[in-house]
């Protein structure tokens, strides 16, 4: 017997087509579904009901960590571990340490951003049913897809297929897991 499908996949020709379709799918109450687009479609996150990204928190954490560790390093090396007078300046002062702290803060904030982005997307994820579909080539070129997963409580093969066709989805097919 055929395995349980991953879900249903439908193709849309235009950005506005997928946008309006997404609004309908969202209002139908689906939770486990996705739009696949070749570029970030302006406003689609709202049409899908996706919340604002939380990546900034990772960036902030990285920045604070970097800034404070540079300050801590300069304090420990200059005022604790090996005190040495250079240029008549104090052993530790936040003033000349700021450039280093800013740079390290920037570096760690950037690393935090990238790690946060990967973490929130679940990357690396080299296997995915959508990637296996031959529709991924046009979807990363000029077509748009909507995928509704079978694990969604509202998923019903026939009804969901009818819904996708009604909102303009073309070539609605089952997507194997």
């Amino acid at each position: 017997m055929a395995a349980q499908p991953y879900g249903l996949i439908a193709t849309f020709e235009s950005a506005s087509g997928v946008y309006h379709a997404a609004e309908t799918v969202r209002d139908a109450g689906f939770k486990h579904w996705d739009c696949i687009t070749p570029f970030p479609v302006h406003g689609l996150d709202r049409a899908m009901g996706v919340k604002r990204s939380v990546v900034p928190r990772f960036a902030l954490a990285g920045g604070v960590l970097g800034f404070s560790s540079a300050m801590g390093l300069a304090f420990f090396t200059g005022a604790v571990d090996y005190k040495i007078i250079v240029g008549g300046k104090p052993f530790f002062s936040p003033i000349p340490t700021t450039p280093i702290a800013v740079e390290l803060g920037i570096l760690c904030a950037a690393i935090g951003t990238v790690l946060g982005f990967f973490f929130m997307c679940g990357f690396p994820m080299h296997y995915h049913p959508v990637l296996k579909s031959d529709r991924i080539v046009p979807a990363l070129d000029d077509k748009f897809l909507i995928v509704i997963e079978a694990r969604d409580p509202k998923f019903n093969l026939a009804q969901t297929k009818a819904l996708l066709e009604k909102i303009g989805g073309q070539d609605v097919k089952e997507l194997e897991a």
Binding site: G43, R46, R52, P56, L60, G88, I95, P96, T98, P99
Partner: protein, 431 residues
Amino acid sequence: MSTHAAPAPTVLPAAIPAAPAPAPQANAGKALGIGLAGLALTALGLLVPGNASAVAVAWLVGVVFWTAVAIGMLMLVMIHHLTDAGWSVVLRRQFEHGISGFKWLLLLFIPLLVASWLGAGDIVWPWGNLNHVMHGGHTVGHDPLYEKKSALLNLRTFSIVSVAVFAFWIWISARLRKASFAQDLDGDAKWSAMNHGTSASGITLTALTLTAGALCWIMSLEYHWGSTIYGMWFFSDCIRGALSVGLLVQLWLYNRGDLKGILNKKHLHSIGMFMHAFTAFWAYVAFCQYLLIWSADIPEETFWYNLRELNHDGSTNQWWYVGLGLVFFNFLVPFLLLLSYKHKITPAKVAPIAAWILGTVVLDLVYNIVPVLKDAHGDPQPFLSLNLVWIVTAVIGVGGVFAWSYLKSFASTKLIPIRDPRIVECITYHE
């Protein structure tokens, strides 16, 4: 500042008002009343014996602060035109009203020149009187450093420069306003092109004139000292002041109902981002100046900061705390608050932040200007003193006149530039 979105959407919110905005005449009158009252109160300070300099310096703080706001508005209008920006069209109209105030600011600046010419030459700027006794006993006239700088630092050159920079701002503001208001009537794209051209050369000349203003009016108060970044420092305060006033005015109009359906979260977010960026820019400029002087440690430069930290006997003076306060309150607090998206888009949160920034920009100017008032030992007069009263009344007084000028201009034209080629882009600007 611009959005090159796809072709203009073909819909427009119903709220677009084609009729002129309701005339806020009563508000204008009130603003003028407050302004004149503030100025009169400041002038009352002259009745306190030996207080003339303190009053004059406070007056300078008031005029310079609102001039800075107006310069910032002028710069932002020109940046808007140069970048062919879309989202800031409505905000630009508020700035166009604001820059009508230059002529009144000049009028309020002139008493300082008159006092220097007719009264004591050193009432504000110590070099204005060759017999002014410097710390150490010699007079300005016998100061070799003054002799080298006397070509610029004499009342005649100074007055010419001051009036000339104001005259330039008045002229270019009138030119920008005229073209923009004319477009409201005929909807001709040539006005946009004209403002684009005015801005291209205008922005260069405004940068030079605002630097000249900062050097003459503020830096020369301590004329032994010079810093090449000073013009940029002043510029950062100008833009921060203008953005904060612009934001508050927009929210006020929104609450009054004028901008309902026009102003949205995304506009607030963009203004907030600029406020955030220029808060960082101020810190950058101020920090670079401090670090370079601290690091090189040359007495001829460090004395400017030393004056604001220590008294002649080595005790810490109040200005030290003001300086520290600037680091935390003018930079850190607004910077951290504006990091948050929510703070930028919630009127109840961003309005206090904008008001706070205006307050700390005044504090920054006070830190740069007011220590010119010295006591008998050559130490700056303390921050917490009667002088503070005149500063507050002067800032409110000049602000009242500035607001009056804004409201008068506001009543004379359309609420938003309804025939601006980017108006639809501005009103439909959202995430």
